[in-house]
């Protein structure tokens, strides 16, 4: 007797086991990205390590800050992004008022030839928490000036809704304070923000390690933005690889749909007769 398989063999050219990220792009303001990892550039030990980490992460969008030119500075982060085809996303880090943020955004638009701006308006140096009143004011004015505004915001669903209403292209709630590595302190609020949002939700700040990036994606965030977790890791390049895979795995898990949590066991093997 010959063995007959119960089901036909998989046809040639069967779907790959890993979902194709190109079929599931991140779309912000009409622009599609294959990668759902947005990186920062602050804190890297050197431009060389930063470049290797960025390339490894496969990011397509990376934040830079704008500062006065230091005479004689060697190499530039702008060149690193350019030669690797990574789009710069200028930020308004260091701004405490809407007026500061507007001035910085206008200069960034001129310097980097993009009207995309990661809007940061923080309340104080100690926490670097967003100042909601200044943030909303700045967001509205920048949208009026034609900027594509991606605001760094609190994990506050109401503020996220208001930012969307004034025309922001995405909302970027924090998981925890910038550089803290505290992870996602209020996953419930992040879920509320995701549920109501009609623009992409990007978790921004607080991510310390890969599992936290995966969790953000499992909660339904559209992307993860991080810097310190990679740039200040013992091995930034290896951590960049870990974050790339975590974001991809978390997204796949979110799309796949997790099983409901049960209080008691459910056998995964058939019972014994």
């Amino acid at each position: 007797m010959t063995y007959a398989p119960e089901s036909p063999a998989a046809p040639a050219g069967a779907a790959p086991a890993v979902p194709d990220p190109a079929a599931d792009p991140l779309v912000i303001a009409g622009r599609a990205f294959t990668s759902r990892l947005i990186t920062g550039t602050g804190g890297a030990p050197s431009l060389r390590v930063l470049e290797e980490a960025l390339v490894t992460s496969r990011t397509e969008l990376t934040t830079v800050a704008l500062r006065r030119v230091a005479p004689g500075a060697e190499g530039s982060v702008w060149e690193v992004l350019r030669r690797n085809g990574i789009s710069p996303l200028p930020n308004t880090a260091g701004c405490f008022t809407a007026g500061d943020a507007l001035r910085t955004a206008r200069l960034a638009r001129e310097a980097l030839e993009t009207d995309w701006i990661k809007l940061e308006v923080v309340a104080d140096e100690r926490t670097l928490l967003p100042d909601p009143v200044e943030l909303l004011d700045a967001a509205e004015r920048l949208v009026d000036e034609g900027f594509t505004v991606l605001p760094y915001t609190n994990d506050d669903p109401v503020l996220a809704r208001r930012l969307e209403q004034v025309g922001c292209a995405a909302v970027m709630p924090l998981g925890a304070p910038i550089g803290s590595g505290l992870g996602i302190r209020n996953p419930h609020n992040i879920e509320l923000i995701v549920e109501q949002a009609n623009v992409p939700v990007v978790i921004d700040a607080g991510i310390g390690t890969a599992s936290e990036a995966a969790l953000a994606m499992e909660l339904g965030c559209d992307a993860v933005m991080l810097a310190t977790a990679v740039t200040r890791a013992k091995d930034p390049v290896l951590m960049a690889a870990a974050m790339r895979d975590a974001v991809s795995a978390g997204r796949a898990a979110y799309r796949a749909g997790r099983i409901p949590v049960r209080r008691y066991a459910q056998a995964s093997s058939p019972g014994v007769d």
Binding site: G40, R67, V69, S76, W78, N91, R103
Partner: protein, 66 residues
């Protein structure tokens, strides 16, 4: 002629342009923006914008951050 460049008191020749100030600070003009007394000067206008006495010129560039 006294001006302030990137927060530092400086002296430049009369009729100095924004483009010349930029060139004195950095070789690459890519990724650079200029504010003259807090107003952005568009790149296309650098060569024709002349600096005046007591002007504040800020020359900014993209740096690692965020």
């Amino acid at each position: 002629m006294d001006v302030t460049i990137n927060g530092r008191p400086s002296s430049v020749a009369p009729h100095t342009t924004v483009a010349e100030v930029v060139a004195s600070l950095t070789r690459s003009a890519g990724g650079v923006a200029v504010a003259l007394n807090d107003e952005v000067v568009r790149r296309a206008d650098w060569a024709t914008t002349v600096v005046a006495e007591n002007d504040r010129i800020d020359v900014l560039t993209a740096v690692q951050g965020g």
